[in-house]
Amino acid sequence: MRRGTFWSWLWISLGALYFLLPLIGTFIFSLRARRDELSFAAYDSAFSDPRFWEAFGFSAMMAVFTVIVSLLITVPTAYWVQLRLPRLRPIVELITLLPFVIPAVVLVFGLIRIYSRPPLALTGAIFTTNLLLIAGYTVLSLPYMYRAVDTGLRAIDIRTLTEAAQSLGAGWPTIIWHIIFPNLRTALLSGAFLTFAIVVGELVLASFLARPAFAPYLAQLINNRAYEPAALTIVSFLITWACIGLISFFGQHRAGGESQLAGPR
Amino acid sequence: MAFLELTGVSKTFGQFKAVDNFNLQVDKGEFVSFLGPSGCGKTTTLRMIAGFEKPTSGRIVINDVDVTYKSPNQRNVGMVFQSYALFPNMTVAGNIGFGLKIAKTPAADVKQRVERMLELIHMPGYGGRYPYQLSGGQQQRVALARALAIRPQVLLLDEPLSALDAKIRVELRSEIRRIQQELGITTIYVTHDQEEALSLSDRIVVMSAGNIEQVGTPFEIYNYPRTQFVASFVGTLNQLHCEVVDAAQGLLRYHDQPLTTGAPIEFPNGAAVKVLLRPEELQLGNGHGHETNQLVGQVETVSFLGATVRVELSLNGSRLTMDLQNERQLQLPQVGQSYTVSFPPHACWVMPEG
């Protein structure tokens, strides 16, 4: 077809090799729990550890709350900025860039500095620390959530739709329920799944705020066990794949591949 | 001797025949338009001349050199794209001089040629601007200059004006023709806009579904269409379904009205034919409708178009469209009223039914 296809296949094969070898290596390693035979024993062992369920459950729960908080903050903002307050756009976009400028370690440093002393001593109690954690996670996922919602609103030209609906006599509840949400569903789901993936894999905030999340659990497991971490690494990869896959599934034909970029580093 | 010659050129994409047996001879300095609806194969043919598509069969010869299988960068033809395709990272001068720079022309000569081109397109001093700083019409002029800078043997234009506003289109149209005539360069112009084709070309090639329908001067195409397609594609056309009464005398019958062409008809007596009439050759009157070449109809709509007034009449269940020339003292016909429509014999163009 096009010239140079040999080189194209070469480079992509090298890339595939680089990406797949660690995964294959880990998978094979995870099957070696029992000497001299391949089995899923490591997986059994990992899943039968109650602390795994505790950690994963905790992270999943935090993820859900983060998604909710994130949506509550970003959706109205994106909506009103598009519809009525376009002057605020530069400021809002600057704020969504802040999480990039303030990496997780720096963020948690600052959060601890402010919120570990009275009068705002949030780190004293578990419940309030969890709240702080959710807030931190929301900060990390903010750029992606806002971008997803903003792109979604722009794609459906929310201003014109709202005006059309109003001229046909629709009130606000109708507009929100029948016009905004259905059209935004894809964008919201994208943002939600991405946030979920970020939160479940996040190490820095959870570990410095001493909360029993999945990533710190996995880190500790590496020190104590050999095969279970391999199994959980594969599981972690599959969960991330599922999240990204669901985003692609719900958001077909979306050109914004960037929306899938995130994650702990 | 033809300067550009296409012989038996065909192009098939899988099962789809885009161009079928295209034959054309173009003289040096001639301006030829390919006119037709979307999908008729005009752009594909142009791209084969440029070298971006290879013909499935046939030959293309430019200036006695067979270029059928030569790559695009060896043909020395200049192409102007519909979307301008200016290189966004280069200035106007950079774009225009690009072809010369690649050919390793000395910098001083490039500079001189670029300036000459800028003068030609009436944009002197624009050399330092970037494409994003120019309007659509300006970008297209630069694209033209870029194609001409390399002194191509043939200039190819692929619907260059369709992305522009109506007013700019008309201005730029005459610019293109002026430049073409000044340089005397052989030009192929692809368009679906008949007004462009009619006003610019020395000859028009009307195409439909991959085939050439007719080749001729604008006057010939408009007034003596050879096929049904050409007749209905170019300009507005009235069609009266008639029967030949006396072929030798040129007499026909439309329902119960007598018509005459004033010259012998090539179809036998009794044959079912169509008489084609252009709106501008019809005249409105208040007669009784009993004369030859006189029909009676009732006015349905009157549209004032400025220089012309378009009147639509209904008669015998079908519609007749006629154009009146505007003048201040004109009395617009009344909707609902009956008038006679008459026409001279030579306005009748007879074609077979079907």
Binding site: M1, V139, E202, L203, T240, Q260 | A50, F81, Y132, A147
Partner: protein, 300 residues
């Protein structure tokens, strides 16, 4: 943008209805700003204030000056080095990969696979990634053992060590390549076919096209994304911590250690370190934005 808002407000009568409509909008964005202030701006400001205070709380620039200690400078230098290496390496190979599935003409299925995998890989970073590399290139890793048993090559005795600069860079590439692929692919898609044809038409070949048209057009995007990759690596913590256990003194690792305990013997210094990080990231983001805007302007 301001022009759109003003005429609307001028035309509307200043009635209670109009005021209410605009108030709803302002009310709607308040949570966002409150959140941003509470959890982003205040923490950042507190770090800045911490960095210019000494133990007693008096204003001092000493902490910032102390950033020039050898230990600190080495940390910054190490972070910069690894960020540069993975930004350039990641950028180049990522660009190549993106090229193969856009201009390079590989089938759509390969492209979809690459894009999806890139999305996954860039999220996989951190502990799982570190472990995957340990399981592959660690002392008893899959590849290490394979090379030893099949080809009798012992990479560790040849000097390779996963728990080092080289090993960490290799691991970082796992999320740098995908980031480049995802960001640069739209730019490669944006290369219009007509530019290539126009170039050919004017007598140029492939080399001319890339040298004079395609690469110059792509350069701002390429550079900008590499700068983004730099910032990305500079701020990374989890992968480094999980892989090297904190033995590599990157700036992020030092800050992490400082959070856990006063390893620098000077809390203010820790805050200054964090401030330095923010400055580097801010420069990186600004550079990226500026270059992106330049590209958009050209391709208007």
């Amino acid at each position: 943008m301001a022009q759109i808002a003003q005429p609307e407000m001028r035309e509307m009568p200043v009635s209670p209805v109009a005021l209410r409509r605009v108030s709803w909008a302002w009310l709607g964005v308040v949570p966002f700003f409150l959140f941003a202030i509470a959890f982003m701006i205040l923490p950042a400001l507190s770090l800045i204030s911490g960095s210019v205070q000494d133990r007693q709380g008096n204003f001092t620039l000493e902490n910032i000056i102390n950033l020039s200690q050898p230990f600190i400078l080495n940390a910054y230098w190490l972070s910069i080095r690894i960020s540069l290496v993975t930004a350039i390496g990641g950028g180049l190979f990522g660009f190549l990969l993106a090229y193969t599935v856009t201009v390079g003409g590989l089938p759509k299925s390969v492209r979809n696979g690459l894009m999806t995998f890139s999305g996954v890989a860039s999220n996989f970073a951190g502990v799982p990634l570190a472990f995957a590399f340990i399981a592959t290139l660690g002392r008893v890793g899959f590849i290490t053992v394979l090379l030893k048993t099949l080809f009798n090559i012992d990479i560790y005795s040849a000097g390779f060590n996963l728990y080092s600069f080289v090993g960490l860079s290799l691991a970082y590439m796992y999320f740098q390549f995908p980031l480049m692929v995802l960001i640069i692919s739209p730019a490669l898609d944006g290369l219009k076919r007509e530019w290539r044809e126009a170039c050919e038409n004017l007598g140029g070949n492939s080399w001319h096209y890339w040298r004079y048209v395609a690469l110059p057009i792509l350069l701002p995007s390429l550079l900008g994304t590499m700068i983004l990759l730099f910032g990305n690596a500079f701020g990374a913590y989890a992968t480094a911590q999980a892989l090297t256990g904190g033995s590599l003194n990157l700036v992020t690792i030092v800050i992490g250690a400082q959070i856990r305990g006063d390893v620098l013997n000077n809390p203010g210094l820790g805050y200054a370190l964090a401030l330095g990080m923010v400055v580097v990231m801010a420069i990186s983001i600004t550079g990226y934005s500026w270059l992106q805007r330049k590209t958009e302007r050209w391709l208007r």
